[in-house]
């Protein structure tokens, strides 16, 4: 691996963590789509700032992006408050408008600069190592590594400082306001953070990857833990894995690095969706199955207890007649008997079923509760 490849990997991993931090709160606040809206709309802010400064590396571009990011949120809220449209429609109306104005401005006024709609959407991380940060002829590494690093520190500080406030306003806005905190202010701060993150990442990874890295790792982490702090940590780790995995996927497929990273983030999410220990699909299926057979074996024990009480005929306890009594099909019956024996609730003596002491106890408990 040469130093350029290493630069790309570090930049991608850093971007991933930087995006995952605010992403956790977007996912929990159910405003994931806002990342999509903001990361596109900021093109307008970047373009306007560029038209004034004529420089791509100016901090005014970040400020312009942040302003338009907040504008996107305010316009969306404005439309929602008219109560004519729902949130998703409002978001869908606002950001294409702002983005399109940005595109028109580029077409009319900007030529011969690496600033176009394509580069905002896809970015080109492969070129990032060639834009160096040089002070007094000393090469300090790729410029985007410095900007992304600065935004990473900003996001980390933001979350550490406002952790308690973010948690409260995300979980219960009403209580937050009643306790004297300012949920609206925090919301705009968060959206500003999202805007700044998007603008810092747009040059290298593009807005599609920004959206992917903000939403996919936190969504996967949400399935893997029940603690907010752990969710943030796991989001960061999954972000880094997406960056590294995606890079090697791109290498193998000889395809777009950003695209591969976004794909890899998606793959990690689906793995979590299937295999997450408590909330995953597989776990749910296993629990349902366990409940089903647990219920069947309990039903069987209750039936045997009733038969004991009633001094019923021997046929009530005979394996070969069980299906008829329970109105179960034969396969289900034999599975249920096997399960009940495994649970230690019943014993099979030849063709006859009897309750174990444990089974009798359990069946009694079930009957008495009713």
């Amino acid at each position: 691996m040469d130093s350029h490849q290493l630069d790309i990997l570090i930049l991608a991993a850093l971007t991933a963590v930087t995006c995952a931090l605010p992403g956790v709160f977007l996912v929990l606040r159910r405003v994931s789509l806002m990342s999509d809206a903001i990361s596109h709309a900021i093109l307008l802010g970047i373009v306007v700032a560029f038209l004034f400064t004529k420089k791509l590396a100016s901090p005014w571009l970040v400020i312009g992006a942040a302003v338009v990011g907040v504008l996107t949120v305010s316009l969306t809220e404005l439309i929602i408050n008219t109560r004519k449209l729902k949130k998703d429609a409002a978001i869908g109306l606002v950001f294409p408008l702002l983005f399109s104005i940005g595109v028109i401005l580029i077409n009319k006024y900007i030529q011969g600069v690496h600033l176009d709609a394509d580069c905002v959407i896809f970015g080109e991380i492969a070129f990032a190592p060639f834009d160096r940060f040089v002070i007094n002829h000393i090469d300090l590494g790729p410029r985007s590594l410095w900007t992304t690093g600065a935004v990473f520190l900003l996001n980390l500080t933001f979350i550490l400082v406002f952790y308690k406030e973010l948690k409260l306003t995300t979980f219960d806005k009403g209580l937050a306001a009643a306790l004297g905190f300012f949920p609206t202010l925090l919301n705009y701060l968060l959206m500003t953070i999202v805007s700044v993150t998007a603008v810092a990442s747009f040059e290298s990874v593009g807005s599609i990857l920004v959206v992917a890295l903000m939403i996919a790792p936190p969504s996967a982490a949400y399935l893997l833990t029940n603690r907010l702090s752990t969710m943030i940590l796991i989001s960061g780790i999954l972000g880094i894995l997406s960056a590294l995995g995606g890079y090697f996927l791109a290498y193998v497929l000889d395809a777009s690095i950003s695209g591969s990273m976004a794909t890899f983030a998606g793959i990690l999410f689906f793995l979590a969706l299937i295999f997450a220990p408590e909330k995953g699909i597989l776990a749910k299926i296993l629990v349902r199955r366990w409940k089903k057979w647990n219920f069947a074996s309990e039903t069987l024990s209750v039936h045997l207890l009733q038969a004991e009480y009633a001094h019923a005929e021997e046929t009530e306890r005979v394996v070969s007649h069980m299906s008829d009594h329970m109105l179960w099909n034969d396969d289900y019956t034999s599975e249920a008997i096997a399960q009940a024996i495994e649970d230690g609730l019943i014993r099979k003596e030849g063709n006859r079923l009897t309750l174990t002491p444990l089974g009798r106890e359990k069946a009694k408990n079930i009957l008495e509760k009713k």
Binding site: L168, F171, G174, L175, A178, L179
Partner: protein, 263 residues
């Protein structure tokens, strides 16, 4: 329509005068006067859309009134003064949020902590105490998504207790809880009242009104009546509040007669 008020209140905990609240120029509360005496259990009762939650939220400063004055202990209210503990409707939060019971109760403490300060060991101890009071101490490490409706409500009440305020505003604390939980919640509210707290609940069940509350405010966009439950809960006042829902009112009457018969 003049509001019926049977008992004069001196030094009210909450004093609302001429309050009008509107969503987009459509009034949800019209010129409402409302006073809550100190050291009492008061129910706000009225049909759906009567503005009960709106009244509570406006008192708390969560909604801006179009007109009117709100005073708490004779002063204009600011959330930072921490005089009011709040129990929102439990449906207003996401119970799948990644956090546990103890953490939710601790959130009630955030008002005392203010910005930036984190909860300390003492705060945690307080949270455990409050959970004990609502009988949920065994559940303190439980993920909140695993709670039943009644347990969720107990956690919310524990979260209000830790706010340690002289006034509590509770939005439907009995909604969606089983009979046993309802009993334990009302016992708890009575204990709070006995300690001199003022508890104001949005309440839906007219059957239990007399048993649970001393005071009642009947509300339907306008204030209909305010006073001791025994004075206010009349057929006429209920008709004014709910309109002519005869069957529903008869139900109450029968219940009353049954009550008298057994008494």
């Amino acid at each position: 329509m003049m509001m019926t008020q049977t008992t004069k209140i001196t030094n009210p905990a909450i004093d609302v005068t001429d309050l009008t609240v509107a969503y987009h120029e459509k009034p949800v509360l019209w010129d409402v006067d409302f006073q809550a005496p100190q050291d009492t259990l008061l129910a706000i009762v009225g049909p759906n859309g009567a503005g009960k939650s709106t009244l509570i939220k406006t008192i708390l400063g969560l909604l801006k009134p179009a007109a009117g004055r709100i005073q708490v202990f004779g002063k204009n209210y600011r959330p930072q003064s921490r005089l009011i503990g709040y129990v929102p409707q439990k449906g207003t939060v996401d119970w799948d949020f990644p956090t546990n019971v103890l953490d939710v109760v601790l959130m009630g403490r955030y008002g005392h902590l203010g910005w930036f300060r984190r909860p300390k060991v003492e705060d945690r101890k307080m949270a455990v105490d409050c959970l004990e009071k609502v009988g949920m101490a065994d559940f303190m490490n439980r993920q909140i998504s695993q709670l039943s409706g009644g347990q969720q409500q107990r956690v919310f009440i524990a979260r209000a207790l830790i706010q340690d305020a002289p006034i509590y505003l509770m939005d439907e604390p009995f909604a969606g809880v089983d009979a046993a939980t309802e009993r334990s919640i009302i016992t708890l509210l009575r204990e709070l009242k006995d300690k001199g707290k003022t508890i104001i609940c949005v309440h839906h069940d007219l059957q239990t009104l007399k048993e649970y509350f001393e005071w009642v405010m009947l509300l339907n966009v306008r204030a209909v009546a305010l006073g001791k439950v025994t004075d206010i809960l009349t057929q006429e006042n209920l008709r004014k509040t709910y309109g002519g829902k005869a069957a529903f009112l008869t139900g109450l009457k029968e219940e009353e007669e049954k009550g008298h018969a057994s008494a």
